[in-house]
């Protein structure tokens, strides 16, 4: 970390500010910062504050109405997170913030077991923000909060019987708010993250030139789409209906599985469109941008057509087929971006978007 501090010192002294960026690629990077990163994290911050406020209100005055508000705020925050969760650059990648917001997949239900144990034992350490952040990441974020609001025993939250459960939920919401605040602050215009993001050069650990910068941007889209298909859908949809695992789906209790996928796709479409990266295409292939958007929208439309609870969805052969088509549609979008679009940008045709070994 001392090395990082030294590098940052050098870089801050030689990097131009956000206002000075120029060049086509830098304009794209600037667009991403201004039109995607900052607004998405700002939205997350707003949703986190609403969530924290609504859970505080529920704890103070338990009622059916306040309970419903808390649930809706949870869904709002979750879907806001889904719009930027695949952007894995900057402060989100420090201090396990990704996992502290959402620990998934959790194959052994480690988080669920810890949450259930904390509730059963009324473990006071999960009811204060300070002590919660010292515990396993699996009890700090959306997985825990979903169980609190939608899992077995949630009815208690409508009365003072659920006081402990509510305090646990409030501590989680404080944690989510704190992380959201950190992300917003971390991407302020003159901060380190923005300077690294906007300025490819030889001393920048993120990228040294335009091609590397575009690799990061395109790689974010490709990795995000792959994860939505392989992990988010693949977790519960198997080759045969009898092998499906609906309770492995993210947020099956809150019936928010498909909404998270839709938000994820929509977030990646925003990243693509708002970046203006298609403006870097050669004139003769400028329509390729529209083609990528078409594939992304096909996937979004397909997901929208089956926005139901996973437990219900997999009962229908017709819906299962649509899910399979959704995976296919995401695959088309990946292919269009990874093969066609990136090559037209002059990016490497190697394994560069794949993770390593």
């Amino acid at each position: 970390m001392r090395i990082l501090a030294a590098v940052i010192f050098c870089i801050l002294s030689v990097f131009p500010s956000a206002a000075q960026v120029d060049g086509a690629t830098k304009r794209v990077l600037s667009n991403v910062l201004i039109n995607y990163i900052q607004p998405r994290y700002a939205d997350l911050q707003i949703k986190s504050q609403a969530l924290k406020g609504d859970i505080a209100q529920l704890c103070e005055i338990p009622s059916d109405a306040n309970f419903k508000s808390a649930r809706l705020s949870f869904l709002d925050f979750a879907n806001s997170w889904a719009q930027i969760e695949w952007f894995r650059v900057g402060p989100i990648m420090s201090k396990n913030r990704v996992e502290r917001i959402l620990f998934y997949p959790d194959r052994k239900s480690t988080g669920l077991k810890q949450v259930q144990r904390a509730l059963a034992n009324e473990d006071a350490s999960v009811t204060s923000f300070g002590s919660l952040t010292q515990k396993s990441v699996a009890v700090q974020g959306l997985g825990a909060l979903e169980f609190i609001l939608f899992g077995t025993g949630f009815e208690a939250l409508k009365s003072h019987d659920g006081a402990f459960r509510c305090k646990f939920g409030h501590a989680v919401s404080q944690n989510l708010t704190d992380i959201s605040n950190t992300l917003v602050a971390g991407w302020e215009n003159d901060g380190i993250a923005a300077k690294f993001w906007l300025n490819p050069n030889d001393e920048n650990p993120l990228y040294r030139n335009d091609n590397e910068a575009l690799n990061v941007l395109i790689g974010t889209m490709v990795h995000g789409l792959e994860a939505l298909s392989d992990v988010r859908i693949g977790a519960f949809l198997k080759d045969e209906a009898k092998l499906d695992r609906p309770k492995s789906a993210l947020m099956w209790r809150s019936e928010n599985t498909l909404a998270m996928i839709i938000s994820g796709l929509s977030g990646l479409e925003k990243l693509f469109t708002e970046s203006g990266v298609e403006q870097l295409l050669p004139q003769e292939n400028s329509a390729l941008g529209e083609s990528v958007r078409f594939e992304l929208n096909q996937a979004i439309n397909t997901a929208n057509s089956i926005d139901k609870a996973v437990l219900e969805l997999i009962q229908s052969q017709d819906d299962r087929q649509k899910l399979a088509y959704l995976k296919l549609a995401i695959g088309f979008a990946i292919s269009r971006i990874d093969n066609d679009f990136s090559q037209q940008l002059g990016l490497s045709a190697g394994f560069s978007f794949g993770d390593g070994d």
């Binding site: 090395i3 194959r107 001393e203 650990p205 693949g234 045709a349 390593g356």
Partner: protein, 359 residues
């Protein structure tokens, strides 16, 4: 369990089909093949299919063989006619091939509930093959043991000393294995997802190759808990050089290079900022050239190869080429390959995987 057995049967059927149909015709130069083939590497073709190639020292392809999926690390031994290419994780196949082409290739697989992590090493006499594997139900790293003399039958396993074992090498003493436990837990249900980044911890383990006893484990410091040591090479003095991959914030500059030996602590190698940036927090291959007393480390993400003096760790020179990763000693230097198709001085219409095997 039943489902896994069915999956395995289906997999083997698929492999059988690919073997019977998939041997590609030899390229021109088949005669030269027997004398000149000295390197092997996995590749991807433009149509998305995968294969293994044997190459001459000039980088000419002498022979190709289709693979069912992407191959990764290779293993060879002076006393065995076989060389091996292992599936990239989470694949469960390996292909044994005879560089002299006297025997048909043999495809073998891991036991149920295991998959390869892409690397392996022969015993000194060439009769056993050790492979880094994942017990994916528990997440424990395993070293699978295969009998080379009996059709690569799986005859046992021992613990790797950590999670996510990646490259495994036999030390010059012929008795000790060294394993880079990358620390990252994975499961085939989520093929490329890293399941434990919040708690991962990489180490280097030295293991008695006969008994499987862990001789030493060198844990990485907690400060760098997100650094995953993955690739290894041992010099003639018994120093194991390693290259890591960092899973944290790309803004950090993790110490990616270290060396360790039996009885001596792990020691990070300091690099100037420019070279650290050039690795992009990712080293994909490590190779030693003992003739010259040098170690080379490569990063396909940064397009950088760094060559160090293996006596003192000082930088001798660096080399930049987009997508470069594969490394192997050749006379007084290294031959290099890239995911963009270059192998040595020849540009192929292929993507080379990260490793070059010397056969």
């Amino acid at each position: 369990m039943r489902r896994l057995e069915l999956d395995r049967r289906a997999f083997l059927l698929g492999v059988g089909a690919s073997i019977s149909n998939g041997i590609l015709p030899r390229d021109a130069g088949a005669k030269a093949f027997e004398d000149d083939a000295i390197f092997a590497s996995g590749f991807r073709q433009k149509d998305g299919s995968f294969g293994l190639a044997l190459l001459s020292e000039t980088g000419d392809i002498l022979y190709r063989h289709k693979l069912p999926a992407r191959g990764h690390g290779l293993a060879s031994n002076l006393h065995s006619q076989w060389s091996i290419i292992f599936a990239r994780r989470p694949g469960n196949f390996a292909l044994a091939f005879d560089p002299k082409n006297d025997k048909e290739p043999q495809l073998f697989t891991t036991p149920i509930n295991r998959h390869f992590y892409g690397h392996g090493a022969f015993s000194t006499n060439g009769k056993l093959l050790f492979a880094s594997e994942n017990n994916f139900e528990t997440g424990d790293g395993k070293i699978g043991i295969y009998d080379v003399t009996d059709g690569f039958t799986h005859i046992g396993e021992f613990g790797s000393g950590g999670i996510g074992p990646h490259e495994i090498i036999m030390l010059p003493d012929g008795k000790s294995l060294c394993v880079a436990n990358g620390g990252i837990k994975t499961h085939p249900q989520f093929p490329r997802t890293k399941l434990n980044l919040e708690s991962m911890r990489s180490n280097i383990a030295f293991i008695d190759a006969v008994s499987g006893t862990i001789k030493e484990v060198h844990q990485l410091p907690a400060t760098w808990s997100l650094l995953s040591m993955r690739h290894l090479a041992c010099d003639k003095n018994g120093n194991v050089w390693m290259g890591g991959q960092y899973e944290g914030n790309a803004f950090d500059q993790a110490p990616l290079i270290a060396k360790v030996s039996l009885g001596n602590a792990l020691e990070f190698i300091d690099l100037p900022a420019k070279q650290m940036v050039g690795f992009k927090n990712y080293i994909g291959s490590v190779s030693i050239n003992d003739n010259e007393g040098v170690v080379a480390l490569s990063s396909p993400k940064g397009g950088q190869v760094l060559v160090l003096n293996s006596n003192d760790g000082n930088i001798l020179h660096s080399y930049m080429d987009a997508g470069i990763c594969g490394l192997a000693p050749l006379q007084n230097k290294f031959i290099k390959s890239s995911e963009n198709g270059r192998f040595g001085s020849i540009q192929h219409q292929l993507n080379w995987d990260n490793h070059i095997g010397v056969i």
